[in-house]
């Protein structure tokens, strides 16, 4: 009797141990692999953003030294190229990482809409007239005698209120100018806006050049700070990949892509424009490049989930990704997520440029709405995957 009892008790205990909450060792190892591969991808992505921005700076230097049609076009090309890696880095937002913690440079790098009138001349109606038409920083040497990085940073905190006058879109504005067309085609700023001689158009060509240079240098500084945080010895990377942080880091990875998918991309960037049919309610409104922003954002989500990233030079990083973890926990959910990832990526790629024409009429509107719905579903699906690991994520809340 006693022997049976004790044997049963021992078996029960063993069974209980088998079913307790501690993780299978292979999942813990896998999580670490996934987090480390993510850090590798983030570093590579920000490095690409930095390097392409350096090329942009070179082309801008050329434009300013020798203003010409060719040099302006080259600078624009370089800007478009620089946006390709940056758009993918937006998957690393929304969890207070180096990009958007309390002093993160996200706003300074990519905020929108730009206060155009604040920076440079704009087309306006002369109703009311007066001397105050088109007062702006470039056109106001009395109040803004020196244009440099410090001025631009201080404008960003003007009166405790963020005023958007820096970053990618400020550079875009200074290269393309306002998009005044009702049809397709971006801005058409003449290169002569940078001719520092009697043929200067629209005044203050030297100051315009200074502004362009200052915002570009500021952009590089901000990107550099991100590269420094995520390089192999970087302080954030060290923290992020430490053993104590693995679960938190995994949660952050999921938060970033969940919120980018539903709240930011599907919601803020695509739905609002589709809903309001607002002219130029698109992030890259001067260059009409918003369709690429959308595709790159979607790619960023794909990169993080699959643990892969194709660098600007064509080399591919391919390692452990969230998909591997979800597959271990819930293979059906993983299949569903991959399905949505692929279909949403295809849907955004089907959106025809330019975005601000596409949302005006059919069949463009349906193409956009299809992508919006898939990205929203993807966000929800990522929230489900998060729940598998015990995290709660609200993908709408950005």
């Amino acid at each position: 009797m006693r022997k049976i009892l004790s044997t049963t008790l021992i078996l029960l205990a063993l069974y209980a141990c088998d079913n307790n909450e501690s993780e299978k060792p292979d999942i813990t190892e896998k999580k670490k692999e996934v987090v480390e591969n993510y850090a590798k991808i983030v570093y590579a992505n920000y490095t690409d953003a930095y390097n392409t921005a350096e090329v942009l700076k070179d082309k801008i230097d050329d434009l300013i030294a020798n203003p010409s049609e060719e040099n302006l076009e080259a600078a624009k090309e370089a800007w478009l190229d620089a946006r390709e890696p940056y758009g993918q880095t937006e998957a690393f937002r929304f969890y207070g990482g180096p990009i958007d913690d309390e002093d993160g440079p996200e706003g300074q790098l990519n905020a929108w809409p730009l206060d155009e009138s604040y920076i440079d001349y704009v087309e306006g109606n002369a109703n009311g007239g007066g001397d105050n038409v088109n007062v702006n920083i470039i056109g106001d040497p009395d109040n803004f005698p020196t244009i440099d990085k410090e001025l631009i940073v201080s404008q960003n905190e003007n009166g405790g209120e963020t005023n958007i006058s820096s970053g990618y879109h400020a550079i875009e504005f200074l290269l393309w100018g306002q998009d005044k067309s009702t049809g397709p085609g971006g801005g058409e700023r003449p290169y002569t806006d940078y001719l520092n001689n009697q043929d200067c158009t629209n005044g203050n060509c030297d100051r315009r050049a200074e502004y362009l240079l200052a915002v570009t240098e500021l952009l590089l500084d901000d990107l550099q700070s991100l590269v420094d945080e995520w390089k192999p010895t970087g302080s954030y990377r060290t923290f992020f990949t430490s053993n104590a942080e693995i679960d938190n880091s995994l949660e952050k990875m999921l938060t970033g892509i969940g919120k980018l998918s539903k709240g930011e991309l599907a919601g803020e960037r695509m739905f609002v424009a589709w809903d309001e049919k607002s002219k130029e309610d698109e992030h890259s409104c001067f260059s009409d490049n918003t369709h690429r922003d959308i595709v790159n954002n979607a790619k960023g989500i794909y990169n993080v989930y699959t643990g892969s990233y194709t660098k600007t030079d064509g080399m591919k990083i391919d390692g452990a990704g969230i998909e591997d973890l979800v597959d271990l926990e819930n293979p059906d959910l993983n299949d569903e997520t991959l399905e949505l990832l692929n279909s949403s990526l295809a849907a955004v790629q089907a959106i025809q440029a330019p975005f601000d024409q596409e949302f005006l009429e059919e069949p463009g509107r349906t193409r956009i709405k299809t992508a919006i719905d898939l990205l929203r579903d993807l966000g929800d699906k990522i929230a489900e995957a998060s729940a598998e690991f015990g995290y709660t994520l609200d993908p709408s809340d950005v």
């Binding site: 704009v122 007066g130 306002q178 609200d394």
Partner: protein, 471 residues
């Protein structure tokens, strides 16, 4: 074996006995009074959301029907966006200023939360200043100061001089609780400096108003006028010391008087007018509700500045921001059934705080939101004006509200202000640095309630605060 069986029977009998006694005790408990009410942790019924994070105020009501949750997304977007100087490529977003105090709704209502007074040396952003001179307009509204208009603008677009700067200073006033513990309250004084348009009329009346948190507003709008009228007692007929009354204000679209309920002195009758008023006065955006800028004849640059369209704020966008503002969910309470919290609730009733901070209201019919109609809500406000005493007075009448009167603000969500907005500044100008100070500023009709608080022992005071923080 026999011993084992007998032993088992004894054990079983003992268990059965304990169980019976236990059940009887439970029944006994049910007969004694508890301050706990079923469902009180859901202050807005099905529109309550379980969120205690920094985003606690930013969720749409979970029970929204139709496509309102999508409209919420668009409304949210425009609530957060910066408006820019006209003219701009982004035509729907231009029209900022020429005079303004903030560039976006969210800069004052950060995370749909509560503003706070400026730090030393900073200009206020989420604290606005209403200006008026003596008399009332034909529709009962205050008369704007002739040069500076109806609201002070300490910011402006390039090329237009802002009206000036605001200097805030405080005087500390010491006091003691009945048990000897001391406290200090800070009384603010406001000075307008570096005025750009000449002297301000010396008889100008000034009212500082801080940005309020924005949860459950659609519910407050759904409360029937009659419900408010039933609660008012302007002549204190029942002699309980409380004389709450409605404010009759002007509806600019209907061109008629209506009962007000939004704003620190209940000076706005509808959320639509409140939102449009804020766009106009705080950001400088004209709309179909308020088609003119607040530029006086003395402010030529302001008048000459380029407009962002007629109106600057598109009707469809205004509508969506109004929907957004109406449908923000109320967060679930925390620790509502805690013993200390329930003790605090008891004290709240014993001190008669509930005479103005009405714990329960039933909404009427909201034409736009059936989800908010006929619901029991727990906002802890009667939405009425009350004389709060000399200490809190701004001495500036606002429609029928006197210089001493303030609308009872809703208390739902106040326990989360610290999490959402990182501060605990309360009352109309953020002078109270915590809830204790907020209570201590109560005077006038609330004098005896305040005295009850002063006379409580420390443990009771802490329980009352705990109750308030659970809201």
């Amino acid at each position: 074996m026999k011993i084992d069986t007998r032993f088992q029977i004894i054990i079983l009998t003992a268990l059965l006995f304990a169980l019976t006694v236990g059940l009887i005790s439970c029944e006994d408990h049910n007969e004694s009074f508890s301050w706990l009410e079923k469902g009180e942790e859901f202050p807005a019924g099905l529109a309550t959301v379980n969120d205690q994070s920094v985003n606690a105020f930013g969720n749409p009501a979970p029970n929204l029907t139709g496509d309102k949750d999508l409209i919420f997304v668009t409304g949210n977007s425009f609530f957060n966006r910066n408006w820019v100087t006209a003219p701009s490529s982004t035509e729907d977003l231009d029209g900022l200023g020429p005079m303004f105090i903030a560039r976006s709704c969210s800069s004052c209502h950060f995370k749909d939360g509560k503003g706070s007074p400026p730090l030393e040396g900073e200009q206020p952003v989420s604290l606005l200043f209403r200006l008026s001179t003596s008399g009332t307009s034909d529709n009962g509204a205050p008369v704007p100061e002739p040069v500076y208009g109806g609201q002070f603008a300490n910011n402006a677009i390039l090329g237009v001089a802002p009206e000036g700067k605001v200097k805030v200073s405080y005087t500390e006033m010491a006091g003691k609780f009945a048990d000897g513990e001391s406290y200090s309250l800070r009384k603010p004084t406001y000075e307008f400096t570096e005025l750009n348009y000449g002297d301000m009329d010396p008889a100008t009346m000034v009212s500082p108003r801080i940005a309020q948190h924005m949860i459950g507003l659609g519910f407050l709008e759904a409360v029937d006028d009659q419900t408010l009228l039933d609660m008012e007692d302007p002549n204190d007929v029942n002699e309980d010391g409380i004389s709450g009354r409605v404010n009759r204000v002007w509806n600019f679209e209907k061109n008629e008087a209506e009962i007000g309920r939004f704003g620190w002195k209940a000076n706005q009758p509808t959320l639509r007018q409140q939102v449009a008023g804020a766009f106009n006065g705080d950001i400088g955006m004209t709309s179909s509700v308020f088609p003119s800028e607040d530029c006086t004849s003395a402010q030529q640059d302001c008048q000459n500045a380029i407009s962002g369209g007629s109106p600057e704020l598109k009707e469809s966008i205004l509508k969506k921001v109004v929907l957004y503002s109406s449908t923000l969910a109320v967060p679930k309470r925390r620790g509502w059934d805690d013993d200390d919290v329930l003790r605090g609730k008891q004290l709240f009733f014993e001190a008669k705080c509930e005479a103005c901070h009405a714990p329960k209201l039933i909404t009427g019919n909201h034409p736009d939101f059936p989800e908010f109609s006929g619901v029991l809500i727990r906002p802890f406000t009667d939405l009425l004006l009350h004389d709060m005493g000399e200490g809190l007075a701004d001495s500036r009448p606002d429609y029928e509200a006197t210089g001493n009167e303030w609308r009872t603000p809703p208390l739902w969500g106040i326990g989360l202000i610290e999490t959402v907005n990182g501060h605990t500044n309360f009352l109309h100008d953020g002078r109270a640095r915590n809830l204790k100070e907020a209570i201590l500023w109560h005077g006038g009709e609330a004098q005896s309630a305040k005295e009850s608080f002063v006379n409580m022992n420390k443990k009771d005071r802490e329980s009352l605060i705990k109750f308030l923080n659970s809201l």
